[in-house]
Each structure stands twice: as C-alpha cells, then as structure tokens.
Amino acid sequence: MQASDIAASGPAALTKPRLEAASPRYGEKLVIGLLAASAAISVITTTAIVVSLLVPSVEFFGDVPIKDFLFGTDWGPTFTPPTFGVLPIVVGTLSITFWSLLFAVPIGIASALYLSEYASPRSRRFFKPILEVLAGVPTVAFGFFALVFITPQLQKIWPGFLGDGPGIFSALAGGLAIGLLIVPIIATVSEDAMSAVPNGLREGAYALGATKSKVASRVVLPAALSGVVASIVLASSRAIGETMVVLLAAGNTPNLTLNPVEPIQAMTAFIATTATGDIATGTITYKTVFAVALLLFLMTLLMNVLSIRLVRRFREVYE
C-alpha cells in the first residue's frame, strides 16, 4: 500500500472536492446540442447549395455533352433547336469583370495607400465612412446609376477616334458601375494588409534615405502584396457574381466579344432573366439555368479559396 492510497482512502476521500457536477446536467447538454445544430446549419446550407446545383446539372450533362457546353459558342438554350455553348455568356461575365477591375484596382489600391500612409486622423475619419457607405449602397441603385447616368455620359464624351460609342446597353457601363461597387472591397482589405506591415520596415527605409513616396510604393505595397492580391481576387469574385447591375445596364445579348461598347449577356443576367416567376422543374430550361449556376458557383468558389490562402499568407508572414 502506498502513501497516496492511504491518503485517498482516509478522511480526505470524504471531503475531496469533486469538479464534476453532482448530477448530469441534461439541460445543459440539450443546449449544447442546440448550439451545435445551429453551427451545423451553415454546413447544411453549403450542402444544400451544392446538391441543388448538382442534381439538375448532372441531368443536364446527361443530355448535353460537357465539351459542347464549355467550349461551344452558340448560346440559345430556349430556342428550337436549342444550342448550349456557354462561352458567350462566360466571356460576357469576364469582360465586365475586366473593365470593372481596370477601374477599381488603381483606385482601390491608391485609396488604401492614401489611408494607410498619408491620411491624417481627421482625413481617415472622413474617408473611411465614405467607403463604408459606398459598400452599403444596394446594387439596384448602382444599376440605375449605370443606366441613367453612366451610359448617357459615356455616349456624350466618347472620343470619335475610338469608333462608335456605347449603345444603350454595354459591357463598359456595367463594368464601370461594378468597378465603383467593388472599390471598397479592394480598399479596405488592402488597407488592412498595409497596416499589418510592421513599422520597422518603414523606419528602416526612411533611415536609408527613402522618400515617403518610395516608402509607400517600394516598401509597403510589396510587403502587403499578398493581401492586395487577395483583395483583388475577392473583388473579382464579387464582380463575377453581381446580378442587378448587369441586368439593368449591360444588356441581354449573348455576344462573344471583349469589345466594351457592345451589349453582352452575363451569366448572372441569363439566370435572372430566365428564372423569373418560378420556372417549371425538370424542363431543359430549368436544368440549363442550374448548370450555368453551377459554373458560376465553381468560379467564385475557386476565387474565394484562393483569396483565403493569400490572406492567410499575409497574416502569417508578420506574426
């Protein structure tokens, strides 16, 4: 017999405090179960999204060969005979995204640099809420703005040497409106990344005689690069998934072109125009809509995974 056993069996055993509750607390277990169920809802949602997109798509690809879908250039799924080449609307989406990034990336990064390196506290207090308000404007307002302000202004100022100006619907009008919409995404995420750059780097550069502009452009920006790239990827994903602006301002003509003044049809616009007012389940139109939605989902998922990786990288580098 050892000393600990004697101690364990002696009077101490009667008074040793127990750390578990005297009775199993079922109420608590129930609540924890409910909490876990809440957390599960987000997982169920993702599963539901994937299932709801996959099932009709699988049926769709039973009728339409994947190659024809992904590489065909004739998009007319509701016509007789229907054609299912999805390239025109994919190119439409990418064209709009391109023009929106062309506007938003310089503005966004420059704004982030300004806020992080140059702005006085009063300036920041003024401009940050502006960006927040911009981020909160509903997309239907952007679409309306594109239609009644951007398009007419573009038509007015369009220089003759570039050929015909944009018509009533154009990829450019939609692209510019979406560009304005995504500026806050690029600006805030990039600014976070730039703020995370340790001051030591800046001070070292100053000590070596760099000017402020050099510090900002040659030290801070490269150091924050993965965060900046993450912001651009996030913004692109947002632009790709944007519906209302393209629906109102970019047109509904499946057009395999990168020309910004021509009307195009984005994938989201196709879905929104075709899926209005409950389309009948099981028809080829229904399956086509979900196949396009699946493609859209995969594109944005890919970009999101990429941006998470990049954000994780910029956080890790400095911790």
Partner: protein, 321 residues
C-alpha cells in the same frame, strides 16, 4: 452625443415611424369611375402569362380590387408559354395569352386535370418599333424576315433590300424571349414558323420595357411588342407601317379591328380554370368584371378594344359558368 449621429438616429426613428403610420391605412389605389360600395367578396387569385396582356389585367385587377378590397390578386408575367405550364399544373387560375393555346399545351392541361374556357379580352396590333432617327416608315414582311431570320440576318440597315429611304446604321435587335406569345406570333408571321428566329438579339425575356429602352437608345434599333407598349411611349419611338401584301398599314384601333393590319393583328385572350370557378368565389365575378369592362379600360392603357361581335362572343363564353 455626436450631433451627426443623433440626426441619423432621429432619421432612422422617423422613417420607422412613418412606415408604421403608413401601415395603419390600407392602400388606396385610385381608379376612374368605380363608385360602388365594397363588397364582402374575398379570395386570392393567381394570374400569370403574357407580358402583352399583363398590363391590361393589372389595371383590371386594380380596379376590381378597389371595389372588392378583400380579394387578393397577383399578376405575374412569365410569358404565354411559361404561363400555360403553370396554368396546366393548377398553379394559376387565369392565364393571360397573346396567342391561342397550342395542342401540346392542351394535352398538358388534360394531363394536369385542368379544364379551361377561353375568352377574348382585347385586340392587339403587334407593333414593330424603330428609333426616331430611322427615316424608314414602312417595312414589308420580307424585309422583316431579312432582319430576323436565323440564317445570316442583316447586320446593317443598308443590307436590307429595297429600303426606302436608305439608311446605314447598324441593326440592333431587341425582342422577347422564347416563352413569350408575342415571340411565337411574330416569328410565325414573319419567318413562317413559330420559334424560328436569329439568336443575335437582345433577349429581354418578358420585360418588354427593356425593348422600349433599347430601341429608344439605339439609332439602328428595331424591336417588337404589343401595341400598348408603343402607345405608352409614343413620342419616343416610331411604329413601322407593315406591308402585308396590300400596301403599308399603320397599327391602329381601326386597322386591327377591320383586319387590314396584317399579318400582325391578333386577338388577346384569357384562359380560365373552370374547375376553380366553383371553389373560389372571387374568380367568376373577376372574370365577368374583366370581360364586361375590358372595352372601357383598353383605350386608357393603350389596348385595342374588341369589336361588338367579339365582345358578345366573349360574354357568352364566360356566362353560365
């Protein structure tokens, strides 16, 4: 406290208060001429179908609702074809249609166990519209076919044969989607077969207003939709006269009613689920109201009323149900 935030807070409270106070009153849509006291009729009517007929049904529904505030009417515009799919599945009680029901759809309704009756409610001049800058005033069916054919459609107005006066802007086509009765009717009349048309056009789905916006904003634009959309936007667009073989005829009430606007003059219908006439007490009064008042309401919203002969036929179709 920070005054700007306080102002924002008050604004928020103000908006909520306004919303809450507005909640109290029931909505009051004014209408011309209805002065009857509200009846005790109640029910819920789901209507869907043609985007051409939809605007007429909406105004009828508004006025009917003013007299019968407890009847809830909803009017969707999924297109004649899309509407029939739902109608034959029993999801709607009335289908607006800008073309007669097709044999496949009749079979679908039979399969879904839906019996229906057809009543004409108006006439329509399917109008081809051009931009105001376009000097052309008259188009033959053949010229229309050159613009809308699936095989090598004309891309510029200068490619259209015998165009008078000449015009050289690029052609921009705007038109409805394939669920639209207007689409079916137009392609049948112009290209000879329903559903056959070039895909190189701005597909506005069921939103004919986008066609208006499109053609208005596009020098070489051409589009087609129901007459009411043209009437609502008369100054901003030009209606082409159509030469169906006997000379150029402009769309108008007279030319449709006497049949000279061809081949694009057509009747507009509603299809009613006759089985629901028993179960929903509001359905029959609504249909009666529609047919009785359609001719008064039509001119107000740019529709072409029925001739007396068509009117009496419609009335007998819905009577005795």
């Amino acid at each position: 406290m920070n005054s700007p935030k306080f102002i924002a807070m008050s604004a928020c409270v103000g908006v909520l208060a306004v919303g809450a106070s507005a909640c109290g009153s029931s909505d009051d849509t004014s209408s011309d001429g209805s002065s009857s006291t509200p009846t005790g009729l109640s029910g819920s009517l789901r209507i869907d179908g043609s985007s051409t007929v939809g605007p007429l049904t909406q105004v009828v529904a508004e006025q009917f609702n003013a007299e019968n505030p407890d009847v809830e009417v909803s009017v969707g515009e999924s297109g004649t074809g899309g509407g029939f799919e739902k109608f034959c599945a029993g999801e709607t009680v009335i289908n607006d249609a800008s073309r007669p029901i097709e044999p496949e759809e009749e079979a679908l309704c039979k399969k879904g166990g839906v019996n229906f009756e057809q009543a004409q409610v108006a006439n329509d001049a399917l109008t081809v519209v051009l931009n105001n800058e376009n000097p052309v005033t008259c188009l033959t069916v053949d010229q229309l076919a050159q613009i809308w054919t699936p095989d090598n459609p004309a891309n510029s107005w200068s490619d259209v044969s015998d165009l008078d006066p000449p015009f050289d802007a690029d052609i921009e086509r705007f038109g409805p989607g394939t669920d639209s009765g207007t689409f079916d009717y137009f392609t049948g009349a112009v290209n000879g077969e329903e559903g056959v048309q070039t895909k190189d056009y701005n597909n506005v789905g069921e939103d004919d207003n986008q066609t208006v916006t499109g053609v208005e904003g596009s020098e070489g634009g051409i589009g087609y939709f129901g007459y009411s959309y043209y009437k609502e936007n008369e100054g901003n667009l030009k209606a082409a006269e159509i030469d169906g073989g006997d000379g150029c005829v402009a769309p108008s009430e007279e030319t449709v009613q006497d049949g000279t606007y061809k081949p694009l003059g057509r009747p507009l219908f509603v299809y009613v689920n006759t089985d629901m006439l028993q179960s929903d007490e509001a359905l029959d009064p609504f249909v009666q109201y529609y047919v009785d008042n359609a001719n008064d309401i039509s001119p107000q919203v740019g529709f072409i009323p029925m001739t007396d002969e068509q009117q009496s036929k419609a009335e007998s179709a819905v009577a005795g149900s």
